[in-house]
């Protein structure tokens, strides 16, 4: 989880992001092709990509995403954070499974999945692609100007998770491996993730190396 430093890139496209924030139960024809700003085409359907994700006793299912069979192998996954549908609602997080440079399957996921790289991808047939067959993009996409802030608390309020967008790193050359060699990427704001766990000190994830030192 520490080898990816998420940075936030804004690609405005009101139609796309509004559609994503408002997507509800599967009514109409799915999968639906949605294009973000003429740059990336997404095949969106409201399927449960987290089916089996919390089957902790089954290593073939736990912490794995469930994906549909795609025309080419999935080589990368990336995250999109939709604008809040209303001021009181949390932003929804979506995961994109890229099988081409501009083509991906899109499904909703839980913000918790940003904490770590999934252990693998699983087809409904049971075939599992292990974690070394794909990468996780360090760029998180959003479509609005408001900074991201997602706060989650478990039933036990001592356990909580806060995801918030912060300013870009002041020392880009020491940022994580995902940003090396891309100075423009280092100018993007950081997505900070803090987890508070009972009987443990708080964990701050996704910080540039300089901040950790």
């Amino acid at each position: 989880m520490a080898d990816t430093v998420f940075r936030v890139q804004c690609i405005p496209d009101t139609k796309f992001w509004t559609r994503l924030a408002d997507s509800t139960a599967p009514k109409g024809s799915f999968p639906e092709v949605m294009t973000l700003s003429n740059k990336i085409s997404f095949s969106y359907a409201p399927f449960n990509a987290l089916d089996g994700y919390a089957d902790w006793n089954n290593p073939q299912r736990a912490l794995h995403y469930l994906v549909p069979p795609t025309p080419a192998p999935i080589r990368a996954i990336g995250y999109l954070i939709a604008p809040p549908a209303s001021p009181t609602k949390l932003r929804r997080v979506f995961v994109a499974f890229f099988y081409g440079t501009r083509q991906a399957v899109l499904a909703e996921t839980h913000p918790m999945t940003l904490l770590h790289k999934p252990l693998g991808l699983r087809l409904a047939s049971g075939i599992v692609f292990p974690g070394d067959t794909f990468t996780v993009s360090n760029i998180v996409l959003k479509g609005d100007d408001a900074p991201i802030r997602i706060s989650m608390t478990a039933e036990n309020p001592a356990l909580s998770m806060l995801i918030h967008e912060g300013p870009a790193s002041v020392a880009p050359s020491t940022a994580g491996n995902g940003a090396q060699g891309h100075p423009e990427t280092q100018l993007l704001s950081l997505l900070n993730i803090a987890v508070r766990i009972p009987h443990l000190a708080s964990l701050s994830l996704n910080l540039p190396m300089l901040a950790i030192v």
């Binding site: 599967p26 799915f30 999968p31 092709v33 294009t35 003429n38 990336i40 085409s41 095949s43 359907a45 409201p46 399927f47 449960n48 990509a49 987290l50 089916d51 994700y53 919390a54 902790w56 736990a62 912490l63 469930l66 994906v67 549909p68 069979p69 795609t70 025309p71 929804r92 081409g100 501009r102 083509q103 499904a107 909703e108 996921t109 839980h110 918790m112 904490l115 409904a124 989650m152 478990a154 039933e155 036990n156 356990l159 998770m161 987890v195 766990i197």
Partner: protein, 84 residues
């Protein structure tokens, strides 16, 4: 060690975890027609414009070459001699 890892993960993630979308992936029609539509829509929009621009350039160039060769032929004094 692995057991300890899973206990830790379970204790941290389980309380936060909640399914967000409950519909099975198999409920949707991932047909080849769908993937073809995806491929069509993911073509860069600038591509056709670029191709069109390039073909126009080539056409202009071709017309200029034809025009120049016609003009050269008319100006060439030896052309009549050659034909005779």
């Amino acid at each position: 060690m692995e057991h300890l890892f899973w206990v830790f993960v379970k204790r941290v993630l389980q309380p936060l975890y909640a399914p967000v979308q409950t519909y099975k992936v198999t409920a949707f029609d991932w047909t080849s027609a769908h993937w073809a539509e995806m491929a069509e829509q993911s073509k860069p929009s600038g591509h056709t414009r670029y191709t069109e621009m390039q073909s126009k350039k080539v056409e202009h160039l071709r017309q200029a070459v034809v025009k120049a060769s016609r003009a050269k032929r008319q100006d060439d004094a030896d052309i009549g001699t050659f034909e005779l």
